[in-house]
């Protein structure tokens, strides 16, 4: 069913329309949350909070903007708030706070795991505004225009943040870029 129609039906109180929206976006919302938080339980908790917020405040959604833009704005804000709360209680970096889940797929080699850890660590070391754009761009493949709307800034600000983020990642992952890809 068309997304706009689903939202309209949901706003009129149709719970099955809301369920369809949740099913459509739950993977993206959980994964974006996971990229920010690096913790499965917390990512799921944030995703639940996000959909509950969407359900309770559907009246404030303006169909002028895309539903996904509105949704991801809530996701990003919730994740950043969670990270700020976490910082208050601990000075340890993300990796040390919440190590990656144990590898339950034996065919994934140690080397691949190590690569993932390096990439995660490089992204986590970026400043918050650069990390946010790189995660939305790389993992959610959102357009610059959508990212600008989500983060309430200009498209050129997104371009600059991405440029700086990639410059930094290039330096941090230099050895791996040559080894694995080129």
């Amino acid at each position: 069913m068309d997304e706009i129609k689903l939202i309209e039906e949901f706003k009129q109180g149709d719970k099955s329309a809301f369920r369809q929206l949740v099913e459509k976006y739950q993977d993206s919302v959980i994964n974006v949350s996971y990229q920010f938080l690096r913790n499965k339980e917390e990512a799921e908790e944030v995703a639940q909070d996000v959909f509950l917020k969407v359900y309770l405040s559907s009246g404030s959604y303006q169909p002028k903007s895309k539903f996904s833009t509105w949704l991801f704005r809530i996701v990003v804000n919730s994740c950043l708030n969670k990270l700020r709360d976490r910082k208050k209680f601990s000075s340890l970096p993300l990796e040390e706070n919440f190590p990656a889940p144990a590898n339950d797929q034996p065919d994934i080699s140690f080397e691949q795991e190590e690569l993932k850890r390096m990439v995660r660590s490089a992204i986590d070391s970026l400043p918050e505004n650069q990390r946010t754009v790189i995660l939305l761009n790389q993992y959610e493949e959102l357009s610059y225009q959508d990212m600008a709307r989500i983060l309430d800034c200009s498209v050129s600000a997104i371009e600059s943040r991405l440029f700086r983020a990639k410059e930094s990642l290039k330096n941090k992952l230099a050895g791996h870029i040559k080894k694995d890809v080129i």
Binding site: Y34, A47, Q112, S160, I177, V181
Partner: protein, 167 residues
Amino acid sequence: MRCRKARKKISALLDGEAGEREKERITSHLRACKTCEEELKTLSALSILLEKGQESIKPSPYFWNKLEQRIVQAEESKSVFGNLWEKLNHVFIPATATVVLLIGLYIGIQLGDFVYSSIDKILNPERVTLVQQEVDQSLHLDTLDDFPRESIGQIYSALLAENNLSE
């Protein structure tokens, strides 16, 4: 196009975000500049590396059930608080409005009285004296004139006169 600007735009080119004109300008620069061409290769390799480093998770099988439960709870508490608020509104709003009205009335009366008497004193000092004489006569204070000085009657008379003047 200069190298710095071209490098900034390479990401947009790779992400399919460059417009037709911009795409032409970047590609013509890349053809002429080996360093920027190398940068394009590095950035596309970085993108692949970041993709490889991606770790995705799946929602738990009870995701919807948990959410549905939370929605029911939220709606219940919303309706409990909503009803309570509605009931409180029926009492609090009229009560507050009445208190505010009474306070306003009191302040208005006091203010009006003060302003009127002050203006009256300034504009009609003679009338004040006349009023004072009328008060003296109506209370028969002249009967206290015969009392000796510093007697209770004289002190009372003096106090009343003082009080009338200050009003």
